[in-house]
């Protein structure tokens, strides 16, 4: 286990989360006009307390390549817009029907369903707007690469496809292959994007991009299994959202299929493997290495 008290790591994590919140506050249009509730709902979601792990990976990966800070911050904010939009839509009554998220009412509870659908739509659109803007990077090819890969990772062949698989559970019970595919698309694709974006902005070599991709692949899978472990064994008061949801809905997940012990063992193996991918970066990857244990220790 990493030392959770590592002041350097925790300081950087908090600092990045704060910078992302400030950036999103500036990027989301002010709540004005008869449509002001739309912007309020966007803010309710995007400015809520979160660990901001995806932005963290954009910024820390980019920092390994001395990439421009402003570019990293804007790419990270765009990615967080996509993440928040996906949470808003996933929480809808016709999807996971969740009432609480990040310790506060979900958007459709705080506002209403129509506003939640629209706030998600607007956050997704804003993400592409941010990336297309000249302020994100002076090189148009880098902006376009960031855009195209974000669309790939978040669309029908990425995150949305994964959520679609997740919605089909009622119709046919899932096996481990289907759950792995679902995870890779639903949560894995955006985690991969987070390290890829840092590499795109930083001009990573092909070998470096492969290493980052392998790291994100293993970390993403480990994260999902640890999330299922949290759902099975965590404490609701600590986590800030209802647990045991999969078990109550009779949904198969990594823990129901593998059992707690084997699931824990997989997380350990994947964590070790994720770290090995970073060997080519030597001590430049220290923060990313520390992040693995932090991300997988879901008690904080």
């Amino acid at each position: 286990m990493a030392d959770d008290g590592d002041p350097n790591f925790n300081r950087r994590l908090t600092e990045i989360a704060d910078r992302i919140t400030v950036a999103l506050d500036q990027l989301i249009p002010p709540a004005q006009g008869p449509e002001a509730d739309l912007m309020r709902a966007m803010r309710h979601s995007a400015l809520a307390n979160g660990k901001r792990m995806r932005p963290f990976y954009v910024i820390e990966t980019g920092a390994m390549f001395d990439a421009p800070e402003k570019s990293l911050l804007r790419a990270a904010a765009a990615l967080e817009c996509v993440h928040c939009y996906s949470l808003i839509h996933d929480d809808l009554p016709c999807m996971d029907d969740d009432d609480f998220r990040r310790g506060q009412p979900t958007v459709h509870k705080a506002f209403n369903e129509a506003t939640a659908v629209l706030a998600g739509d607007a956050l997704l659109t804003l993400a592409f707007k941010i990336l297309a803007s000249r302020e994100t990077h002076q090189d148009p090819h880098i902006r376009l690469k960031l855009l195209e890969r974000l669309a790939d990772c978040s669309g029908a062949l990425g995150m949305v496809g994964g959520q679609m698989i997740d919605m089909l559970e009622d119709e046919s019970p899932r096996d481990l292959n289907t759950i792995t595919r679902m995870q890779r698309l639903k949560t894995g694709a955006l985690i991969s994007y987070s390290v890829e974006a840092g590499g795109i902005i930083g001009g990573a070599s092909e070998a470096e991009r492969q290493a980052l991709h392998g790291f994100a692949h293993d970390l993403g899978l480990a994260y999902q299994i640890s999330d299922d472990l949290l759902d099975a064994t965590g404490d609701e008061a600590d986590v800030g959202k209802p647990l045991r949801t999969d078990a109550e809905a009779g949904k198969a997940n990594f823990v129901t299929l593998l059992g707690v012990e084997q699931a824990q063992e997989r997380v350990r193996l994947l964590a070790a493997q994720a770290k090995e991918h970073l060997a080519i970066f030597r001590n430049r990857a220290n923060i990313l290495l520390q992040s693995v244990d932090f991300v997988l220790d879901r008690t904080h």
Copy 2:
């Protein structure tokens, strides 16, 4: 009135609609894997019979500037993806709750609500993917301009903002100012984008862009008023969707506020004004001129 039988105009309109359907069929991922219903739902919406007026304007405006056909087709397909996504989400039970669209069941009726939310999300994402791709135009600045303006016109300060205003009707009755603002955002922004996109790809001058913007502004407003007239006076069997919806819901619109005759007079004035904007293009704008009467004659 334009001669509805003008063979040149009608042939071009049909030809463009067919080309857009073929393009969307190629651009939407094939229905494969456990998530195949997602792609089926995207296709159900995007490949349905439609007049494809927005794509028509992208392509015919671009043709005035001899812009590359492939670029225009891809930009038009991207715009149609955004239009279709907005229809899917607007039809949801929590929004307008419509069961039929373009003469067939809406996506949430043919599939289910979760699939409809996700299919809309995926079509929106696909639009940006299409525009970011090198195949859309070799000049990265043109792709980025297309992207940024599409995000502006379809996001919180454009179409989604307009839909938000439309959803607030239950809470406070709308006056003419609010309805005009709603229309400008909800339908006007994408109509403006359709002629703007042709101009971006074709390299229109500042004066030409202003003229196109004025044309789209007047046409968009006239279109919305004619849509309200259709809702009040049209024939359901001809139109392929339920009518009298605003009246039944007690919703104010241009016709309930102005009356049928004054609404018709406004459409006539706006149509004349729209055509005047095109004077600087002389006979290059013949097809756009003919389109005005076609678009506003909602009996076909």
